[in-house]
């Protein structure tokens, strides 16, 4: 059954449009798929020419998948003499992999630590910005605040600032306050960056909740505050959740502040990944493995967010 409409595209048009879009989608995925594959290659296969892309094949374009990249990503290794290697047989599968280069694993690499820093700073700043953002968004949405438009513009404009432009005094300020290269310092900084998004986005979600429920609650004897957390918050749950994911993604991805203000203790993954060095140059499989692990959560979240994506990237202006 087809509803008749003169604006409905013909089947041929649809087929044509579909083909082109799918073609673009496939092309756009090639770099990502390639990085994911590279993570499972040996260093030699990763830089082979012509590129090897068939898994497990013996042909010229084939390669044997290996977890070398992941092992190298998570460990530090040293080369040992043959005598030492003979005296200490490999204990785990990871040992076996590094043995082929006459090496032994001597400890974990910094990657796990940096990844955890990303998690701690990401979740910390997300929690703070969503918490503060919800309060401010509710106030902007429901109350008459003098100069509300100017305040909202001021809040948004802070996000537009070039990070390098504010990094200079923040660097000096953090040096004075002993906040440089600390988790707290980075959490506060990312919160300040994310809060503008949180306020604007949550305001658009809360604007969409009818005021009748709260008014009814107020008449029933709730205080404003009770009405806020017993009536409005549950209804804004979806909005709060998607705002949180946006904030998480942005602090997860941030690089400029991280590279300028952290060196070791609180360094996050983005400045760390490019510095992974292997034997004779960059260890591309290990980097690819790190990149894959780092990007995967964001992709999952993007798919979860797809309904609210547009609202998020336009600061709540376009609701679809």
């Amino acid at each position: 059954m087809s509803s008749f409409s003169i604006t409905e595209p013909s089947n041929r048009t649809k087929w044509f449009a579909g083909t082109l879009v799918i073609l673009y989608a496939v092309i756009t995925m090639i770099p990502l798929v390639w990085i994911a594959i590279t993570g499972f290659k040996s260093p030699a296969d990763a830089i082979a020419y012509p590129p090897k892309y068939i898994v497990g094949s013996e042909s010229e374009a084939g390669f044997q998948p290996t977890l070398e990249g992941y092992v190298n990503l998570f460990t530090t290794r040293t080369r040992q003499t043959q005598d030492f290697l003979d005296a200490n047989p490999p204990e785990t599968w990871a040992d076996e992999i590094v043995r082929q280069y006459d090496m032994v694993i001597v400890g974990p690499s910094k990657f796990g630590e940096r990844f955890m820093n990303s998690v701690i700073i990401g979740f910390g700043s997300t929690f703070l910005s969503v918490f503060l953002g919800t309060l401010a968004a509710y106030a902007f949405s429901r109350f008459k605040i003098p100069l509300a438009d100017d305040l909202l513009f001021f809040i948004l404009s802070t996000r537009m600032m070039p990070p390098i432009a504010v990094a200079i005094p923040i660097f000096l300020m953090y040096r004075q306050l002993n906040l440089s290269d600390t988790h707290l310092g980075m959490i506060l900084l990312y919160t300040a960056v994310n809060i503008s998004l949180a306020v604007w986005l949550l305001k658009s979600f809360i604007d969409g909740i009818p005021t009748e429920y709260e008014e009814a609650a107020l008449i029933d004897g709730y205080t404003r505050f009770q009405a806020f957390y017993k009536v409005v918050l549950p209804q804004a749950a979806t909005g709060i959740a998607s705002t949180a994911i946006f904030c998480l993604i942005f602090s997860w991805n941030e690089y400029a502040f991280a590279v300028l203000l952290t060196t070791a203790n609180a360094q996050t993954a983005p400045p760390f990944i490019p510095t992974i060095i292997g034997i004779g140059g960059l260890d591309w499989p290990a980097i690819a493995a790190g990149v894959t692990l780092f990007l995967l959560p964001v992709m999952v979240f993007t798919i979860l967010l797809r309904k609210h994506l547009l609202r998020g990237i336009t600061f709540g202006a376009v609701r679809k």
Binding site: M160, M161, A167, P169
Partner: protein, 315 residues
């Protein structure tokens, strides 16, 4: 209805007093709710900004703690705005801005237009296309560097596969004439979905009856496209262009990872140049003036952006 004493007292008193008994007044709550946000932004954004403005009039160097900074008036601004090297960096930025926006609008709008034909499964493919946009720009720059490697990189391989050129005959990141295009390609790959999503919202905001009316008036499809589709999507497109313009004007992470500003300084966008002045040469005062120039430009564009945002919101 509850019958707590407090409510009965409240019911018997005049409204303003009643509200005080029940809890804080609306006004107090409004301020309590907004204050932490404003305070945080003042501390971490506005205070540093004012500090930058102050530093921009001095010759302070952050790596020399013992030397007292001198006030030198507008000399930093004078030096930056007459420096032909910085002018060249601005032009590199302009090249990057112009071509990324050109390609992103062209491809993004076409894709949105195609997706709006509502073929089967368009939601799924839209989600896949959108993925690059949400990734970390620094990490994206890092792995594209791998794809761009001469000899071994996938990009050179694919180009040589289709054109028959020797894959080791060109270096996307190493050649002065190609490097500016290498960053345009990656940025376009990453951000086309952004323009696409906004255009799609614009296309979907056009009600069907307008087209139906045009059909009845026997306007050709082409005419409909130029008199209905384009004007109706334009405000959305403006929004996308302004946003990409602002973001790419201050572009740092993607390009720093990809080319680091090289070869020479052909891809040294203003932010990268600024980072060099501030954190490598440690000319803090000079870099502060530079930062203020960039900031004012972004702020100006941002005010236009918010105007465009409100215009779209009214729709």
């Amino acid at each position: 209805m509850s019958d707590r004493t407090i409510d009965r007292v409240a019911a018997a008193t005049p409204p303003p007093v009643a509200r005080k008994i029940r809890g804080l007044s609306d006004r107090a709550i409004a301020w309590i709710f907004v204050a932490p946000t404003i305070f945080l932004l003042l501390a971490i954004n506005i205070f540093p900004l004012i500090w930058t403005i102050r530093l921009s009039f001095t010759n302070y160097r952050a790596n020399r703690l013992t030397r007292e900074p001198e006030f030198i008036g507008l000399r930093n601004y004078e030096r930056i705005l007459t420096d032909s090297d910085i002018w060249l960096n601005m032009q590199a930025t302009a090249h990057f801005l112009f071509w990324t926006i050109f390609f992103q609008v062209l491809i993004g709008f076409t894709l949105a237009w195609l997706i709006n034909k509502k073929f089967k499964g368009n939601d799924l493919w839209t989600t896949i296309i959108v993925l690059p946009m949400m990734l970390s720009p620094a990490v994206v720059g890092n792995f594209w560097k791998f794809l761009y490697q001469p000899q071994i990189g996938l990009f050179n391989y694919i180009v040589s596969f289709f054109t028959g050129k020797d894959p080791s005959s060109f270096e996307m990141l190493g050649q002065v004439n190609l490097a500016p295009w290498s960053i345009v390609i990656v940025d376009t790959w990453m951000w086309t979905p952004f323009v696409m999503l906004i255009c799609l919202a614009g296309l979907r905001s056009i009600p069907d009856y307008i087209y139906e009316a045009a059909e009845i008036d026997r306007a050709s499809k082409l005419r409909q496209f130029f008199t209905i589709t384009i004007p109706m999507v334009l405000p959305f497109l403006m929004l996308a262009v302004l946003f990409r313009g602002i973001e790419n004007f201050k572009m740092f992470d993607l390009v720093v990872q990809l080319t680091g500003g090289g070869p020479g300084s052909v891809t040294e966008l203003t932010s990268i140049n600024l980072k060099r002045e501030a954190f490598e040469k440690w000319r803090t005062g000079y870099a502060s003036a530079y930062a203020i120039i960039l900031f004012v430009t972004v702020f100006g564009l941002a005010s236009i952006y918010v105007k465009a945002l409100n215009k779209v919101k009214e729709r």
